[in-house]
């Protein structure tokens, strides 16, 4: 079964980042594919998950959410193990999302500028899988940019449930996790709501 690994899920959910895991499990389930969310709440569990990645027949997904300053300080001892987990997921063919403060924490940024807005970004997918757009909320900008791929792991400054309004990105991850077997099966009412929510977020509605 596909595993969605979520380190420190109780701490790295400041803007609803965990919802990205929910969105993936639901989209996979609607396509008839089982997956489960595995919270990792200690260094030992992170080490075990790293070791297990290469042994699983299915690909894994890593979701590292956005936390408050206090939350990031509270997990600082686990930084090395989290870097190892990212490597393990990447080398085993999996995918992932590293969001907001976790991105800043793992890839230190400079010259941040305060923002508070929804942004639409063009995003080139890995392995020449084409270009999609993603919509998310940013609280600051930096020279490093909003998106950075490391293999199929996306580091993003878009905090919160980025996959909610970026269904093409969600479906790309589902395809990676199923080695291309995933065929999206999403209710048309949800598709309409996503399009409307994107329009509202990007200021295209009065």
């Amino acid at each position: 079964m596909i595993e969605i690994l979520v380190p420190f899920s109780d701490r790295l959910n400041l803007n609803g980042d965990l919802a990205n895991g929910l969105i993936l499990t639901k989209r996979l389930a609607w396509a008839g594919i089982d997956s489960r969310i595995i919270p990792l709440s200690s260094i030992d569990e992170i080490i075990r998950a790293s070791a297990k990645c290469s042994l699983l027949s299915d690909n894994s997904f890593l979701l590292l959410g956005h936390g408050s300053k206090a939350a990031m300080e509270s997990i600082s001892e686990a930084k090395g193990e989290l870097v190892d987990l990212i490597s393990a997921v990447k080398s085993s063919g999996g995918a992932g999302l590293v969001v907001g403060s976790s991105y800043e924490w793992l890839v230190p940024h400079a010259s941040k500028e305060r923002l508070s807005e929804f942004v639409e970004s063009d995003l080139n997918l890995p392995d020449s899988k084409g270009k999609i757009s993603a919509v998310g909320y940013v609280n600051s900008a930096s020279a490093l940019g909003n998106m950075l791929w490391d293999g199929k792991i996306l580091f993003t400054r878009f905090h919160g449930p980025i996959l909610a309004k970026s269904p093409d990105l969600a479906d790309f991850f589902c395809e990676v996790l199923t080695n291309g077997k995933y065929v999206a099966k999403v209710d048309s009412k949800l598709v309409d709501a996503i399009n409307e929510a994107k329009a509202v977020a990007l200021g295209k509605r009065d």
Binding site: L22, S68, A70, A71, S74, S116, G160, A193, I194
Partner: protein
């Protein structure tokens, strides 16, 4: 005399706006006055013989302030205060337009104001409050404040400016950090909820976690010790009383005990607990804070949700599992990401979903398996549809709405009288 032209202009603006839009006309005149007479606010707030009381924190400010104002008035005080949610600088200027004479003078013994966290920090730099009551720090308005730790620091700076009394919530770890890191807070006392009562709340009080070793809870001067539905037993300054609240939900009881403790400190030896308890028990709820109103001849429960904490607490308190629910998420929710942090297990379904951010909520409910019968993006049409539904067989129609949706709905339903707006 120097504020006379500015006040005249503000009143004229209010008059003309109210001709155009019933129930409106409070924000813009305040904004105008703040631009042309910025010194008026500080002069006015510094003029009250018994000083300025600031009620602040992430959630519960409106309810607590209304309770505290009622307690002070029951004790014979005349009070200058601001309408519910008009808790930023322009709201204070609007309150001056509303309540002052043309010289900017207000006949009141004391000012008791609810203040937004950021605006409280700015204002108390210029006017020193006598008393500061801080309710809590929640993971709220992160599009504005970015991090709850910054909110805590802001509130600590406000508390440190109190000249006589600081009142803090003993059940919020953030408050304990404020006290520990600011050992010179003047006249510090605590309010809270007994552990046995707190244990009945499935998701706690929703305060922002600190991820630090817990600081020992300070002894409280005022505490909720028992809860039976709407009836609560409180101990205040060593005395006991019973209060019956107009709205269910432990968060309202927290507001009440904060108001009682702050009232005890502000009124000193004049404070009469039985009078204060009676006053709180007779208060109607602040508009839309769990209030039941009559619309089209049937009772409707109105529930305001402003942040993850209030959404969670109110959903957890939907004890009757309402048969008919409308959810309206308005334009005030700039970054709707926080909607995704809430556990929606207590929400069985939604009949009508509306508001500027209805589409975001529709995505959220779809992924959380909460059935939505209809999405209607036009709020007024949604209101008409919802209130045209046949009366529910059990319980009351229930509306969960954000502040912007609440204001629009209030106007659409005709709740625009001064009394409604003041509440």
């Amino acid at each position: 005399m120097r504020f006379l032209p500015a006040l005249l202009l503000g009143r004229l603006a209010r008059f003309f706006i109210r001709q155009i839009r019933k129930g409106g006309g409070s924000a813009l005149p305040g904004l105008i006055l703040s631009k042309i007479a910025p010194g008026l606010l500080y002069k006015t707030l510094g003029s009250f013989a018994e000083g300025l009381v600031v009620v602040t924190g992430s959630a519960g400010k409106s309810t607590t302030t209304k309770m505290l104002v009622a307690i002070a008035r029951a004790h014979g005080k005349t009070v200058f205060t601001n309408p519910s949610t008009a808790n930023i600088l322009q709201g204070f200027y609007s309150a001056i337009i509303e309540q002052s004479n043309l010289l900017g003078q207000i006949s009141a013994d004391i000012a008791i104001l609810e203040m937004d966290e950021g605006h409280a920090a700015a204002l108390t730099k210029k006017v020193k409050p006598k008393t500061v009551a801080v309710l809590n720090v929640m993971e709220d308005q992160l599009d504005r404040f970015v991090d709850p730790g910054l909110v805590r620091e802001t509130l600590a700076s406000v508390a440190a400016r109190a000249s006589e009394n600081v009142v803090l919530n003993a059940d919020d770890e953030n408050m304990r950090i404020i006290a520990e890191r600011n050992p010179n807070l003047i006249g510090l006392t605590w309010f809270g909820v007994s552990q046995s009562v707190l244990a009945t709340q499935r998701n706690g009080l929703g305060t922002a976690p600190t991820y630090l070793p817990s600081i020992v809870r300070s002894a409280t001067s005022s505490e909720i010790t028992k809860k039976f539905g709407l009836v609560h037993t409180v101990t205040v300054g060593g005395q006991q009383a019973s209060i019956e609240l107009a709205s269910r939900g432990l968060h309202f009881a927290v507001d009440a005990v904060c108001a009682l403790e702050t009232g005890r400190k502000v009124l000193g030896s004049h404070f009469d607990l039985q009078l204060a308890a009676r006053t709180i028990s007779e208060l109607p709820p602040v508009f839309a804070r769990g209030e039941v109103v009559e619309i089209n001849g049937e009772p409707v429960e109105l529930v305001l949700v402003q942040n993850p904490g209030s959404m969670q607490l109110n959903i957890d308190n939907l004890t009757t599992n309402p048969e008919q629910i409308m959810v309206a998420i308005g334009r005030d929710v700039h970054d709707p990401s926080w909607l995704w942090t809430v556990d929606y297990e207590g929400l069985s379904h939604v009949d009508i979903l509306t508001g500027y951010n209805a589409a975001e909520a529709a995505i959220l409910f779809a992924y959380n398996d909460i059935p939505v019968s209809e999405i209607e993006y036009d709020l007024e049409i949604a209101i008409n549809k919802f209130f045209s539904l046949p009366r529910p067989a059990i319980g009351t129609k229930t509306v969960l709405f954000s502040a912007d949706a609440m204001r629009r709905m209030r106007r659409a339903l005709g709740f625009w009288s001064p009394d409604e707006v003041q509440r």
